[in-house]
């Protein structure tokens, strides 16, 4: 495993992952991951399915806590603080590191309430109408949704629902937004809209996105981590690992690892 230093890394590290291994019960899912996720950039995780990229993503805001029997070794530092230290409250972690999921999952509430919900529980004390409008504008949903703010979130199309979920996540102004294959359930036009939006969003947020689509990684990300399944573990057990972490341009044009080269050129995966 190689950790080549992306050129951007010198500037500012937002989340540092240090020697992290994650297991479900006795089954190790991913082993020995090191990376420094830069602030104010888009970082993409790519790799074949089952390589643990979503597992690592979910470890960044402690969503794995919700999965029975999931345990983590190593350290995840956010602004220098260990997210897995004993005194850390995972709820506070998630208020600063938001998440957008694979399947659009709006709450069974109105569009307005979907966005206001998170803000309220975070003790928002500004103008709620303004916040809703600002969040919907940032998520490029305002024009489509402004006339039906009081309708159910389910009244929207799949792509609109996902943008609502993104608006919901940015309404609480987290520092980092994690996106777990946010476009995998969407049509190409909705995907395009979300990708355009991400270029805007990275001006104010650090974004980490898991994607199975390499073109998407090229289009949206500044830094890319390539995960692979390795067979080096005992027996037939397959364990995920991070093969290479570098500037997106380098990963796709001149990767330092043969496995990365094979994957990005479509020879496997």
């Amino acid at each position: 495993m190689t950790v080549s230093s992306p050129s951007t890394m010198a500037t500012d590290t937002c989340i540092a992952v240090q020697n992290v291994s994650i297991s479900y019960g006795s089954q190790e899912a991913v082993r020995g991951v090191y990376m420094d996720i830069p602030r104010g950039k888009v970082t993409a995780f790519i790799g074949p399915s089952g390589c643990g990229k979503s597992t690592v993503l979910r470890a960044l805001n402690r969503m794995n806590d919700l999965i029975e029997g999931c345990s983590l070794k190593g350290r995840v530092l956010f602004d220098g603080h260990d997210l897995y230290a004993k005194n850390v409250d995972p709820v506070e972690v998630r208020r600063r590191i938001g998440m957008v999921f694979q399947k659009p999952n709006p709450f069974p509430k109105t569009i307005y309430e979907n966005i206001a919900f998170g803000a309220r529980i975070n003790g928002f004390r500004g103008n709620m109408d303004e916040l809703v409008e600002r969040s919907l504008r940032k998520a490029a949903l305002w024009d489509e949704a402004k006339d039906k703010l009081n309708e159910s979130g389910y009244a929207l199309s799949g792509g609109q629902q996902q943008r609502l979920c993104i608006a919901r996540a940015i309404a609480i102004e987290p520092e980092v937004i994690l996106m777990d294959e946010p476009c995998s359930a969407l049509d190409p036009i909705s995907t395009l809209k979300i990708e355009e939006m991400m270029h805007e969003l990275k001006k104010s947020y650090t974004i980490v996105i898991v994607t199975h689509n390499m073109q998407q990684a090229v289009r949206v990300s500044d830094v890319t981590g390539f995960f692979n399944v390795s067979n080096r573990a005992e027996g037939d057990r397959k364990v995920g690992c991070l093969v290479e972490f570098a500037d997106t341009e380098q990963i796709f044009n001149s990767p330092s690892q043969q496995a990365t080269q094979d994957y990005v050129s479509g020879r496997f995966g």
């Binding site: 805001n61 969503m63 919700l66 029975e68 709820v91 506070e92 998630r94 208020r95 600063r96 938001g98 998440m99 957008v100 999921f101 399947k103 999952n105 709006p106 709450f107 069974p108 919900f117 998170g118 529980i121 975070n122 979920c165 919901r168 996540a169 309404a171 609480i172």
Partner: protein, 293 residues
């Protein structure tokens, strides 16, 4: 090696297998008719014998002294409402809370398995035993302000009966809520408490309400847990710590009296009870349909 007979593909009713088919279908139809018949007969009798007696006077007066005519079931109607209300006020929080624990907090450990097992066992405890239990716990010990038989004791006995149903419906309804919804709430920084009370419980409201309505309907018609906890009273309810009348106990007491007036009142109370319970069941059915759309 014999070859199969190959004739025309027409249906021959005379074949042995086709005759058996008709015989069994006929038998199943008769069984179904026999199974549905009691419902029809009970409903017809209760509606005719009880329904013809219903009047405002009947619903608002006290039962007559033995041997006298007239009177009504006003106190029993009010008593059933009070006792069922007490039972619901206890059973709904306890049942929903336990269901929330099982579905949202427990991680399938030994304690959760024990609670699930205990819920099933409690659901199978005969209702008369619930009465015996509350008698021993509250009535015989005069636990409430030195009073023995009381509306509260009856309510607690009914609550013991309701709790397993409420736990099971809550547990199952919450399990049907998509995990993505929970993640969505936690992902914007909601605590477990906020996620449960603002997102998952509201999402599971219709199926939980269905189960709760059915549990209440069943409790309202129960007699065995009340006969030696709430007892009966020929008077209007007098506070929650005194014996109280209820329609089910009224039916039981009056049905075996040798007076025509009392027997009529038993039919009238049956009518009111059955109408209430059928209405509750239809409400539950409607709620259930609501939750599926």
């Amino acid at each position: 090696m014999t070859s199969f007979p190959r004739g025309a593909l027409t249906y021959r009713p005379g074949l042995a297998r086709n005759r058996y088919n008709q015989l069994f279908t006929g038998l199943a139809a008769v069984f179904t008719a026999l199974a549905v018949l009691p419902l029809v007969l009970v409903l017809v009798y209760v509606l005719i014998k009880g329904g013809s007696l219903i009047s405002l006077r009947l619903l608002s007066e006290l039962p007559p002294a033995p041997g006298l005519e007239g009177g009504g079931i006003g106190n029993a109607l009010l008593g059933t409402l009070i006792v069922t209300l007490i039972a619901s006020l206890i059973a709904i929080p306890v049942g929903v809370g336990s269901g929330v624990y099982l579905a949202e907090y427990s991680r399938g450990g030994a304690f959760a398995r024990f609670v699930r097992f205990g819920t099933n066992v409690l659901a199978g405890v005969p209702s008369i035993i619930c009465g015996v239990f509350v008698y021993g716990l509250i009535v015989a010990t005069r636990a409430f302000a030195g009073q023995s038989y009381s509306a509260v004791a009856g309510g607690i006995a009914l609550a013991v009966l309701m709790v397993p149903t409420v736990i099971k419906t809550t547990d199952e309804a919450l399990k049907l809520v998509a995990n993505e919804l929970r993640w969505g709430a936690l992902g914007v920084g909601a605590s477990k408490f906020v996620t449960i009370t603002r997102i998952t419980l509201p999402a599971a409201l219709a199926p939980i309400a269905t189960g709760v309505v059915l549990a209440i309907a069943r409790a309202a018609g129960e007699t065995a847990p009340l006969i030696f906890t709430a007892l009966f009273s020929p008077f209007w309810p007098d506070g929650l710590l005194n014996p109280i009348a209820s329609m089910s106990v009224l039916i039981y007491n009056f049905a075996i009296m040798p007076y025509e007036a009392q027997i009529s009142l038993a039919w009238a109370a049956s009518f009111v009870l059955v109408v209430m319970i059928l209405a509750a069941n239809l409400l539950a059915r409607w709620l259930g349909k609501l939750s599926r759309t």
